[in-house]
């Protein structure tokens, strides 16, 4: 069998998208009653659930409290059934630790932590189905959850991945495209200011192409922002109807 053609001559990707196109994004906020904030997002077949508690007093050792700002605590986990291969992933394995850390960095940059000194904000994210771009889905879900919790943020944090195939940048990679082994980049953006909350890439990519890939990822992140903004507005509408204003 011939090798998989990630980008056809006509400019289609394996799943029929164009190079800069996103997968279908559907999201809901406020899916859990007991949490302060929660959200569920689907990006194509990648599905993630985020829950936010806080800001509340520091749990556990008080020594961790920060005098000038809130502590952001992120935990990532993925369901055993989330990937093609069924595998138990215990808490605290390397991959989820790293993902938790990345999420923490992202949200420390976005949440106005100095408003809540000596307190703690917990963000729990669970991936229910992983089909590429798990980090992006987690960040987007967590953003919605934080918004739902009413924690003040500088801006939305919108994330998207991008890859590079045949000297073309592809936005929002699916699992098939990730598995092909090309360079992949994950970007979390504060869209209004255009500031980058987190940028991560662990493959080799020639520096000349970096700008192109970065621009593709940023554009995709801005697109994600429009969609999330829509979701938030709709949620607020619904909530206000329920409250009977």
């Amino acid at each position: 069998m011939a090798g998989l053609e990630l980008l056809s001559d006509q400019g289609y990707r394996v799943d029929g998208r164009r190079a800069g196109e996103l997968r279908k994004i559907q999201a809901r906020m406020g899916v859990f009653a007991q949490a302060d904030g929660s959200a569920y997002i689907e990006q194509g077949n990648t599905k993630a659930l985020a829950v936010v508690y806080g800001p509340h007093e520091i749990r556990g050792s008080r020594a961790r409290a920060l005098p000038d700002r809130a502590l952001v605590n992120c935990q990532y986990s993925s369901a055993t059934f989330s990937t093609g291969e069924r595998k138990r992933r215990p808490h605290g394995d390397r991959k989820s630790c790293e993902m938790g850390l990345q999420l923490r960095q992202t949200f420390e940059a976005a949440i106005l932590t100095q408003l809540h000194p000596r307190s703690q904000i917990d963000i729990y994210v669970q991936v229910l189905q992983a089909d590429g771009g798990t980090y992006a889905a987690c960040v987007n879900a967590a953003t919605l959850a934080v918004l739902d919790a009413g924690i003040p943020m500088r801006d939305f944090v919108c994330a998207c991945s991008a890859g590079f195939v045949d000297s073309t940048a592809l936005a929002d990679l699916s699992h098939v495209e990730e598995a092909a082994g090309g360079p992949q980049l994950a970007l979390a953006l504060l869209p209004a200011s255009g500031q980058i909350a987190l940028l991560e890439m662990d493959a080799r990519l020639h520096e000349d192409h970096l700008e192109q890939v970065l621009e593709a990822a940023a554009q995709a992140a801005r697109d994600v922002h429009t969609l999330l903004d829509h979701v938030v507005r709709q949620h607020v509408c619904e909530a206000s109807v329920l409250l009977g204003d």
Binding site: M1, A2, G3, S8, D9, Q10, G16, D166, S167
Partner: protein, 996 residues
Amino acid sequence: MVPDWKVVQDYLEILEFPELKGIIFMQTACQTVQHQRGRRQYNKLRNLLKDARHDCVLFANEFQQHCYLPRERGESMEKWQTRSIYNAAVWYYHHCQDRMPIVMVTEDEEAIQQYGSETEGVFVISFKNYLDNFWPDLKAAHELCDSILQSRRERENESQESHGKEYAEHLPLEVLEAGIKSGRYIQGILNVNKHRAQMEAFVRLQGASCKDSGLVSDILIHGMKARNRSIHGDVVVVELLSKNEWKGRTAALCENDSDDKALGDPPSEPMPTGRVVGILQKNWRDYVVTFPSKGEVQSQGKNAQKILVTPWDYRIPKIRISTQQAEALQDFRVVVRIDSWESTSVYPNGHFVRVLGRIGDLEGEIATILVENSISVVPFSEAQMCEMPVNTPGNPWKVSPEEERERKDLRETHLVFSIDPKGCEDVDDTLSVRTLANGNLELGVHIADVTHFVPPNSYIDIEARTRATTYYLADRRYDMLPSVLSADLCSLLGGVHRYAVSVIWELDKTSYEIKKVWYGRTIIRSAYKLFYEAAQELLDGNFHAVDDIPEFRDLDERSRQAKLEELVWAIGKLTDIARHIRAKRDRCGALELEGVEIRVQLDEKKNIHDLIPKQPLEVHETVAECMILANHWVAKKIWESFPHQALLRQHPPPHQEFFSELRECAKAKGFFIDTRSNKTLADSLDNANDPNDPIVNRLLRSMATQAMSNALYFSTGSCAEEEFHHYGLALDKYTHFTSPIRRYSDIVVHRLLMAAISKDKKMEIKDNLFSNKDLEELCRHINNRNRAAQHSQKQSTELFQCMYFKDKDPENEERCISDGVIYSIRTNGVLVFIPRFGIKGAAYLRNKDGLVISCGSDSRSEWKPGSLHRFQDRITSTTTGGESVTFHLFDHVTVRISVQASRCHSDTIRLEIISNKPYLRPDTELLHQSSLLLKSDLVKEVTRTVEEAQLAQEVKVNVIQEDYQKYCQTKGRSLYTLLEEIRDLALLDVSNSYEM
């Protein structure tokens, strides 16, 4: 027309016919091809889609909302695919508002019944039916269809039979890849030894595996079993055998068809030997074959339908094809394609594609050479010619006012002239030189602006890209661009207004230091179209040559004198500048291999390639130097503007080990060749001159050239900057810019230069430039085509040599006996170079019966029983009678030339040593006459006899004789001019003339 997936899989070759246009390929069909038929066929399909000439499109039906159909429960894959394609066809029909009838072609009987009348306007028919109804006249397609059908049926039968296996199965791809990574297997390209195609093949290592395994040499693949169904040119995976199974290569000369057992020579020392375990990429192409003659057919016996045909190329195994037309095709050269090679069969299966021509017929043989080199030269199509500007006496082409505004006008200000060989039609380059107001000099090189007439991705551009170069055969040429461009509108002829792309330098008046450089589009009017000899005369101060220059003829004495002085000054100045530039390059440790370089430069300008070592005219050098300068500066410019997508030309430094033969040979004559750097090599080659025998130096030089690798085009994005270096010219960057009429690479460079200029002006870049990846692919293509052009040129030359000697009786004809020089020693013979005809070939010292050569007192040679002893620089033949004769390197001998006729392959020249003394021609003075005359004579003579034969035939058919005589005459005359043009290309040994 919409083909079903099955049709695309099986009949792609027919769909490739240029007549079949407007095919819509559905994505579903393409994907099945990709998954089931592998990359090769898929790439063919992709090329078909890319080729604008075919008007084919791909419709991504699975991505289209209205065309997508989910697969139903229990529905087979095939059914679903057919249903999807049909559905998309129906949708498209409605999309075109039911105006355009659609034909869906399928092989599925059920589908024809089910869908046949479902929608009006969408016809579902079988492929055979389609051909019958729509293309009843396209005979070739019908034949091809039949032969594909037949070979498929055969294959089905065979797979049922499946008897004992002849070859080991190939390993699966994953295993191969893992094996290569772990170092267990080695990847490389299979090269079959032309002279021992049955037994010996070598695998040239590729890339990474070369370093890892620590192997320096190639890997020997001994025998057909070990070669395991791979064919010359395939990318194969090899497993090394254990050391005790290693074999050596045979150094003895042998004829192609002789049995290997006959050679009792102990092979040389063992080299790494391996066997093929898998093929990564098959490199099958069209092959020219010959059917066996009647007698042989019967001997093949029982299965008359399947016939083993013999490819023209020795390196390709016999191919088994099934056809009923075997008898009719007996005397023809035929093109076939290989379909498959099962492990159960000794020979590959193929099918018949088309007929080329009769065996031995000049046209047929030339067509064979073209096909074997994958050169396709159909006349330019109407669509292509429609794009061409018009230039007829009634409607002459004019400079357009817009262009006049945008271009720099040099028509009044500059004295522009061209120097070319006599009778040259396509003038790509002109020169100018003048003094500026500040006293500085201004040197200009003006190149024909081909890109103005050839917009990117136009039909003509695509055609030129496919051809990549103009092909020069011994008696004809195939142009890259139509003659309206190449010989007229792009050609910078004298006295007419032409568009050009210019590089203009400002030079310091005394030091000739380059101060400024300007690149851009211009309009010029060449004042003189000089030829080299006249220019040299003027340079030397001989003014009687003036009468040959047509531009001066109609002038009165005064203005003539003034103009002449102006021209002479310009040529003189130009020569002066060229000398300086050259000296400067010399000082930078540069320019070496003078002889070689000059010769090649001359070749490129279709100039006389001198087989006699005479000093080339200085004007040659001047023009060449200016062109090198222009190429060099353009290379710098485009590289600066586009560091990752510029097309440059590199010449990698040669491997030292290849020089060993050269050093050995030189030592035999007492010379020392220092090959450490290009400079030392050139110096020592200059010193290695035997005053008594000028041929020695030429042979040494040609050996040095042979040891070097070829210069290649490449994309700057694909290799590191240190590798850009040009070894032969000793320049850090070099490209080809000066002959856009003849080379596609130059067209690409022109576009790059134009883009670079508009980039400098901060203007938008109009043309879409090639990305690094595309450019890399293009470079590979151009390099391939150049190689094909060289091969075809060489083969056509050999063809003419053979045809020339064929009619001569070797025993009596005086011309068949000639002087030769021994330039290499083998165990059972020597390699001889015949300066007079430019032939290189092998001469045996031991014949088939095992007798060796001996020379009596009168130095006549005879065959006697005896033995041969080979030494480093000589070979001695001792007869049982005690007489012995020794042949040294560079000895002159007398050889008899005869032709060995061959039915299936090309005829070959045979050499036989008849005396160990130099051959003295009765007219010794004539020896110094240029052998060129002989070469062109030879070509002429062959062409004439062919024409005569044609004429005789035509007379037989009783056509009006006079008309034909006239026709032949005109043809003869035009051929003569053609021959004049290309006589330099007639007999040179292309293998050792490498391009700079």
